[in-house]
C-alpha cells in the first residue's frame, strides 16, 4: 500500500465520519432541549400520581444512587387553602392565587435507580409516614423486551403495596408477604425491589425517621 493510498483511505473515512457526526450532532442539538422539557413534565405528572391525595409535592433533598442524581420528596396535604391576591409586577393587575397554608406531610416519595440486567432502572416509590410502601412506578429502563420489561406490568408493581423495607425481598415462586420474581427476569425484579425501592425506603428512613413519631 502506497502512502497515497493510505492518505486516500484516511481522508475518505474521516470525511464520512465527520459528516455523519455532524448530522447526529445537529439532530441532537435540535431535539435534546425539547426532550429534556418533556421528560421533566412527565416526571412531575408521575410524582402527582404517586400520591394522588396529596396537594403538593415538595423536594426535601437529593441523593446519588449509582452516582446518578435523584431526589426525594415530601407529599403534603394542605391544612387549608388560602386565596390571596398578588399584584402582577409586569401588568400591574391584581391576580388571585391559592396558597397552601399549614401543609402536613402525609407521606414521602423517593426517586431511585436499580442496576438491572442491561440498564439502570429509574424508579419512583411512595411510602406513608410509617415507611410502608404505597405505590411504585417505573419511569424508564432498557431491559430486555418481553422478559425484563415485564417490570412495568401491574401484576408486578401492585405487589409492592403494603410492604415494609424488611419484606422487600425477591422470592422465586409464590410468596404471601414478599415480592415474587418475574419468570425469566429475576435480575430485573431484584434490581427494582432490592436495589431500587429497598435502598430508597432505607434512605428515607435514615434521613427522616427523626421527624416521625414512634
Amino acid at each position: 500500500m502506497t502512502t497515497t493510498d493510505m492518505a486516500k483511505i484516511t481522508f475518505n473515512l474521516v470525511t464520512i465520519y465527520v459528516i455523519g457526526g455532524l448530522i447526529m450532532a445537529f439532530v441532537y442539538a435540535k431535539t435534546s432541549p425539547i426532550m429534556f422539557i418533556k421528560a421533566k413534565e412527565e416526571k412531575e405528572a408521575a410524582l402527582k400520581l404517586m400520591m394522588p391525595e396529596a396537594d403538593k409535592v415538595a423536594v426535601l433533598g437529593t441523593w446519588e444512587p449509582h452516582e446518578k442524581h435523584a431526589e426525594y420528596y415530601a407529599a403534603q396535604k394542605c391544612g387549608e387553602m388560602k386565596v390571596i391576591s398578588i399584584k402582577d409586577e409586569k401588568t400591574g393587575e391584581m391576580k388571585e392565587e391559592k396558597e397552601c397554608a399549614d401543609p402536613q406531610d402525609i407521606g414521602y416519595i423517593v426517586e431511585g435507580f436499580g442496576k438491572g440486567y442491561s440498564s439502570y432502572i429509574h424508579i419512583l416509590a411512595s411510602v406513608d409516614k410509617n415507611f410502608i410502601v404505597q405505590k411504585i412506578s417505573i419511569l424508564g429502563h432498557g431491559e430486555t423486551p418481553g422478559l425484563g420489561d415485564e417490570i412495568e406490568k401491574d401484576y408486578f408493581l401492585t405487589q409492592f403495596k403494603g410492604r415494609s423495607a424488611d419484606n422487600l425481598v425477591v422470592i422465586k415462586g409464590e410468596t404471601p408477604d414478599k415480592i415474587q420474581a418475574i419468570t425469566g427476569a429475576t435480575i430485573s425484579s431484584r434490581a427494582v425491589t432490592e436495589d431500587g425501592v429497598k435502598n430508597g425506603v432505607k434512605l428515607l428512613k435514615e434521613k427522616l425517621s427523626g421527624e416521625v413519631e414512634g
Partner: protein, 208 residues
C-alpha cells in the same frame, strides 16, 4: 447469488422467501429468539427493522461510489448506528407515546447482522431502486419470520395473542423462555425447509 438482474418485485419476493433472513440465511437469530415471546414485541421490532433496513440500503447505495472498498465496514456501521440514533432521538422527542412502546427495539437494531449483510452483499453493488426493494423485501422477510415465531410462542407459552387471552388452562411456560425460542426457531426452520423441498423442489437450507 444469481448474477442476472432481477426485477424489483423479484427482489422483494427473494427477501421474503427465497433468502429469508431467519429461516433460509440463518442470520439475525438473536432477536428472533430474544424478542419473539409475544406478538407485540415481534411485530414492533419487525416494523422497525423494515424501516431501518430500507433506509440503510438506500443510503449505502447512494454513496457507494464514495466509499473506499477497504473501509466499507466501518462506514456501514456508521450509517446503521447513525440512523438508529437519529430515529431514537426524533421518536423520543416528537412521538413519546410510541417511543415508550418501541423505543427499546429501535436501540437494539444497531447490532443487526441482516442489515449489515445486505449493505455488504447487495446495496454496495447495486443502484438505488433495486437496493431499496432488496432492503424492503429483506425487512418484510424478517417481519414475517418474527410474526410466525412469536405467534406460536405466545400462543403456546401464554395462551394469548397480542396480550388477549385465547386459551385457558396451563400454558407451556417453556415456550416464552429463551429455551422455547430455540425450539420454535429450529422446528419452524425445519418445517419451512420441508415445505420447500416437498412442494417447490428446493434442496433445503444446505442447497442455498
Amino acid at each position: 447469488m444469481s448474477l442476472k438482474p432481477k426485477s424489483n418485485w423479484e427482489l422483494i419476493k427473494n427477501g421474503m422467501f427465497g433468502e429469508n433472513t431467519i429461516f433460509r440465511m440463518a442470520i439475525s437469530l438473536c432477536p428472533s429468539i430474544a424478542v419473539t415471546n409475544g406478538m407485540k414485541n415481534g411485530v414492533s421490532l419487525g416494523v422497525a427493522v423494515v424501516f431501518v433496513q430500507t433506509m440503510v440500503n438506500a443510503t449505502v447505495s447512494l454513496i457507494r461510489n464514495f466509499i473506499h472498498p477497504k473501509i466499507r465496514i466501518p462506514i456501514f456501521m456508521l450509517i446503521i448506528a447513525g440512523y438508529v440514533t437519529i430515529i431514537d432521538l426524533l421518536m423520543a422527542t416528537y412521538a413519546r407515546p410510541v417511543y415508550k412502546e418501541i423505543g427499546l427495539y429501535i436501540q437494539i437494531i444497531v447490532a443487526f447482522a441482516s442489515i449489515f449483510a445486505r449493505a455488504e452483499v447487495f446495496a454496495n453493488k447495486n443502484k438505488l431502486w433495486p437496493s431499496i426493494c432488496d432492503g424492503f423485501g429483506m425487512g418484510l422477510g424478517f417481519l414475517l419470520a418474527m410474526i410466525v415465531i412469536s405467534f406460536f410462542r405466545e400462543l403456546l407459552g401464554k395462551g394469548e395473542l397480542f396480550g388477549y387471552s385465547l386459551i385457558s388452562g396451563n400454558p407451556l411456560l417453556i415456550m416464552i423462555l429463551p429455551a422455547g425460542g430455540f425450539l420454535a426457531v429450529g422446528l419452524l426452520m425445519g418445517f419451512f425447509n420441508w415445505v420447500d423441498m416437498k412442494f417447490f423442489g428446493g434442496k433445503g437450507a444446505s442447497g442455498v
